[in-house]
Amino acid sequence: MSSPTGPATQGTFLGMPAVPPRSPYGTGHLRGERSFPRAAHDELGNGQLRRNLGKATHSIRAKRLAVTGELPDWEQLRDTGSAIKTDTMNRLPELLEQLERKVTERGGTVHWARDGVEANEIVTRLVRETGSDEVLKVKSMATQEIGLNEHLATQGIAALETDLAELIVQLADDRPSHILVPAIHRNREEIREIFLRHIPGVDPALDSDPARLAAAARAFLREKFMTTKVAVSGANFGIAETGTLAVVESEGNGRMCLTLPETLITVMGIEKVLPRFQDLEVFLQLLPRSSTGERMNPYTSLWTGVTPGDGPQEFHLVLLDNGRTAALADRIGRAALHCIRCSACLNVCPVYERTGGHAYGSTYPGPIGAVLTPQLAGMHGAKGDPNSSLPYASSLCGACFDACPVKIDIPSLLVELRHQHTEQSGTTAEKLAMKAAAAVMKRPGLFTAAQKAAGLGRVPAGRDGTLSRLPPPLNGWSDSRDTPAPPQQTFRSWFASAEGAAAMRAAAEEGARHTDDAPQEES
C-alpha cells in the first residue's frame, strides 16, 4: 500500500475508493405472475395437491431424520459443509479460473454467460455446430432457471427431459413443483393419462402401476439415448483443483446422457464450484441424506474433461452468473448461494407443505426459493413485484435452518429481505401507521386517549370477539388474519380501578410469603 505522501497521491486527492457497481439481476423463470398470497390461495383449494404434498413431505422427512440420525458426526459434517461454502465464496474468482484452466487442460471448452439469455445463446450455438436439432436433458435447476428448453424450441431445437418426473412435467406442458420430485403434484392416474396421450407408440393397455409407468418411460427413452448426439446437463459440483464435474442422480438417465452422446454441454452456476476433490467426501454425505433420505443415491458420475474412448469426445462447460453476483454482493443474503439444492427445507416447511411449489412462481420454491429468488432476480422489477411477497411466505419457525445441510440461516435471511423490502418501498400505510404509533407512545396523555378510542372498535366486532375485515388501509392485514377486538378496558384503567388495586395487593402478599420461604440471598 502506498503511503499518503507517496508518488501515487502526489498533488491529487483520491478520496474514498469508488463503490463498485451492483451486478444486474438474472433473467428467466425467477418471477411469478401473481404475489405469493394470491397464488397460494388458489393452490390451497386443490385437495389432490395437498394430499400428495402432505404424503411426500412427511415421508421424505422421516427418511431424512433416520439416515442423518445414523451419523454421529452429522453436525460436524454440516459445520464443514458450511465453512467450505463460505471459503468458496471468498475465493470465487481464483477458484473459477482454476476450474476453467483444469477443464481446458483436460480437453473441455469453458464458456461464460453473464445471464440466462447469453447462456441460452451459447447452448443454441453449440448444438447447431453439431448439426443436431434435438438434445437430451438431464434434470437441472440451472437450465430450468434460464428457460433453456423454451429458448431451444424457438430456435427449432427439440429438448427432451429424461428424468422421469421432468418428463411427466414436460409431456403435460406443466411446471415442476418440487426441486427433487418435480411431478409430486400428479398422481399415478394422471401420469397414466399423460403417457397415453403423449408417448408415441405406448401400449394402450398401460395401467397406472408405478413400475409399469416407469417401464413405459424406459422403453420410450432408451431409443433416444442410443441415437441422440447431444446432451445438456447441470452439475451438482465442479472441482477447481482437478476440473472434475459431478452429477448426482437415481434413475440412470444422467449416466446415459453423460456417457452415450458425442457432445456434452454442462450448464453450471458459478456458485457450484468447490475447491478440492476431497471436499466431495463431505458433500457426498450431506447431499443424498438430506435430499432423498438415502445413505447414498443410486448413481453419481464424476468426469474430467474428455476421456479418449469413453463418453462424449466434445465437452463444453457453461459457467452461469444470472444474478449470482448480485446476491454475492449482499453481506447477509450471499449465504443463499451456499445452497446445494437438496430440498430438505421444502420438506420441513409448514408453508410449502400446504401451498406446493407453484405458488412461489420461480424455479426455486420453498424456503430457499423465498430467499434465493428475490436475490437473483430482485424484488422491485415492477410495481407490486410478486418477488417482494416471497420473504413473507414464512412463519419464521426455523425448521428450514435446522434441516439445511450447509446451515443456511434462512429465517434471518427472510427477515433481512423483509427489511430491505420495506426500506425500499417508500411511504406505505404500514410505515405511516408505525410513525403515528411512535408519536402517540411518546406522549402518555395521547396514548391513554388513543387506547380509549380503540375500545370503540368493539362495536363492529362479531360475537366471537374478532374483526374479520378492517377498513382501508388496514385491510391488507385483515385479508389473511382475524384481528381480536380491542378490550373493553385498557390495562392502565384496570390498574387504576378498585379491582386492580385489590389484585395487586393480593399479589404482593403472595410474593412476600414466598420470599420468606426462599433461601436468603447473600448480600
Binding site: 421424505i60 458426526d73 422421469l164 458420475s301
Partner: protein, 212 residues
Amino acid sequence: MTATARETVLGRVRDALALSDGPEVTVPRGYRTGRSLPDEERLALFVDRLVDYRAQVRTCTAATASTVLAEVLHAHGARKIGVPPGLDPTWLAGYDGETVTDSADVPAPSLDALDGVVTASAVSCAETGTIFLDGAAANQGRRALTLVPDLHVCVVELSSVRTGVPEALAQLTPEHPITLISGPSATSDIELERVEGVHGPRTLAVVIRTDR
C-alpha cells in the same frame, strides 16, 4: 473493445466481494475420517447396506469365484455377456455362455443386445453400500458397458471395501471417469413409490471375494 463475458463475470465477482467481504474461515474437519473396521464387521455392514438397496449379494473365495459367478449368471438366464478387456479370465472358467470382450469401437447400442455384464470394481464404501467403478481400469471398462445391459454382476474384493465415504474416495484417481453405484437404478417420482430399474441395469448382483 467491449469486455468479454469472462471478464465481465469475473469483474462482477470481484466487485461483489469488494462490496461485501465474507468472514474469514478456516474449514474445520471434525467429522470422522481414517476409520477402519475388522473384515467381518466391514463385510456385514457392506452386505446389510447392499441388501437394503435391493442389490443381490453373494460371497466367494478365490477357489469358488468361477462357480459362484456361473451360478449368478445362470440364475438370471444370461446367455451372452459382455466383459471389459482386462477382466481376470479365470473368473468365467465355469460360465458356459457366450462372452463378448468390449472395446471402445463397439457402438453403444449393440451393448443392448447383451444379457448382462461382468466387471471388477475399484473400491467400495461399506457404510453407504456404494461401489466405485474406475472407467480407466481395464477390468472395469468404459462407462457405457456397465450402463446399457440390464444385468450388472460386479466383483468386489473385500480388501477394497473401506468403512466410510472419506476413506473410499481417497483411493480414487479424480481425473478418471468414475461411477458410484449404490444399488440398482431407481425412481420414486410417482407418488414416492420406489421402483427399481429405470434406465440403468435393473439388476445389480454383487459378488464379494473375501479371501484377499
